[in-house]
Amino acid sequence: MSEPFALNRLPYLVVLLAMLGTASAADLVLAGHRIALSATQQNVVMDLLSGNVTVNVQANQGIKGDGWCPPDQVGSKSITAPWVELRLPNLSTHRISLNGAATQLLPNGDVQVTPLSPGGLQGDGWCPPDITWPTSLRAEPAAVVAGQSTLLIWASAGAQSCNPDGSTYPQGVTSVAGWTGVLPTQSAGRAVAPTVPGSYTFRLNCISSTGARFTQSVPVSVTAEDICAGPHQPPAGLTRHTAFVNIFGLRAIGNQEWAANATLDLTMWNPPKPGQVTTGGINRSVIGNFARAGGDTAAVSMPQNGYLAMKIETAGVLPLAAGSLLTEQPGQNAAPSVMSISRCPGDFAPTDSRCLSVWSGAGGIGWTFGSTPANWCPMTVGVDYYLNMMWFQPGLQVNGCTQSECWWLVAQSCGANCLPN
């Protein structure tokens, strides 16, 4: 080599030597896996009392599939001392539990430690996740009334597909429309409308290209639909009438089986209010038994601005049972009335018009548990209903009762598939 040749290349040699001098050749060696130590923060600290080792590393995270970071295992691990603490350039840290008896400082600068586990997990703070969540799964609103919809919102990045597997619903609910099959990897608002009250957990699993599954979930509370709201509420200004006194005149019409001046209940038809017994010692409602053989005629007194709502519990009623309610005006204290059978007390706008006897001097409702005739009010065994009555004419604000109290004359009977009386 001639002298000019060497002089020409001297600057390059200096640069090369400088690069070699600053490059870090040392690694943290974890059970055969290597993590490059920082070239600038060169100090490794070993606490012999705890066994903890603190190293500064070059990268902020590992590389999926590098031997330490698995391609398909996700999660985090509990950390116990002793550990090696990786101090990352971004100033965060990550710890890996060690066997504290097996740390070695090697002649090439490597720090060799023995981890307790053979590798990390995706998303554990060192190993990068396949999938990230720019927008975590959330529900707006998180509480709805049954039948109303809530919007599920999320955005994943790096996912190839998503699904709702593992979502949990109230007993008897196996799926929710809109939350089945393949789901998009992001949604600005996917509407779902649970129809059954209870606690729902909508789970979203998004699958990466490596098959790793990343999951998020959000709870949604669904309360029962208030079927008695709005038009099914008792008319404003009326008061529920819950009992009346069986005065002499009412006994003359049809209440002879009840003691004079007895207070008779108007809240329960079936079962009758406990303790309310006839002079013959039978516990029953003033209008007789519901869905049992035979029938009854009764006279009821109710104030002008009252309404009555007699509960009908139908558990135990025979299938295909059917019967009728007929009302007419007595000879005194008469008034036209409106009558309904509804799941709501004081509801004079039942959803099914067959369950309404319109305002008139004489009317009736047939009720049926699945038998003919088809134009009678359909009822379902096990569901609670109310027999409602008032003097007021819905809509027209006309009160048919022109006195402080009027009398309601009602006859009811069970005509088919009746329980024995």
Partner: protein, 123 residues
């Protein structure tokens, strides 16, 4: 009489926590080493800074200074240095540090000859 006074004075000195100590094995001898201060390893220089230790003035058995090697272990005042070509083994559960010098025959003041039975305790 003077000794009795000194003994009483020593007894009246408030008790202080003794520093935590471990064992440093170097060739055929062991030395106590204090553990209150962590050890520092500078990896580009392959240099280990030992905490305070009873080990001092290490020389080869023939009286020569320690041979140089891949790993420099600094200790004591100065500091002084010894060298190793084999990995330095660190065990926190003892705790112990195991060093085999380049020549394998270093003897320092402040040490105790290791029984052969325990020389491989770190294996």
């Amino acid at each position: 009489m003077k000794r009795l006074v000194l003994a009483l004075a020593a007894l009246s000195v408030p008790a202080v926590a003794l520093p935590a100590t471990g064992t440093l094995w170097l060739d055929d001898y062991w030395y106590t080493i204090q553990l209150d201060v962590p050890m520092s390893w500078t990896h580009p220089l392959t240099r280990l800074e030992l905490p305070s230790t009873a080990m001092n003035q290490c020389l080869r058995a023939n009286g020569n200074p320690p041979l140089s090697g891949a790993i420099e272990i600094r200790y004591g005042a100065g500091p002084q240095s010894i060298f190793a070509n084999e990995p330095v083994r660190v065990a926190a559960n003892a705790p112990q540090i195991r060093i085999r010098s380049v020549s394998g025959d270093l003897v320092c003041t402040g040490g105790t000859l290791s029984p052969i039975l325990f020389q491989d305790g770190l294996e």
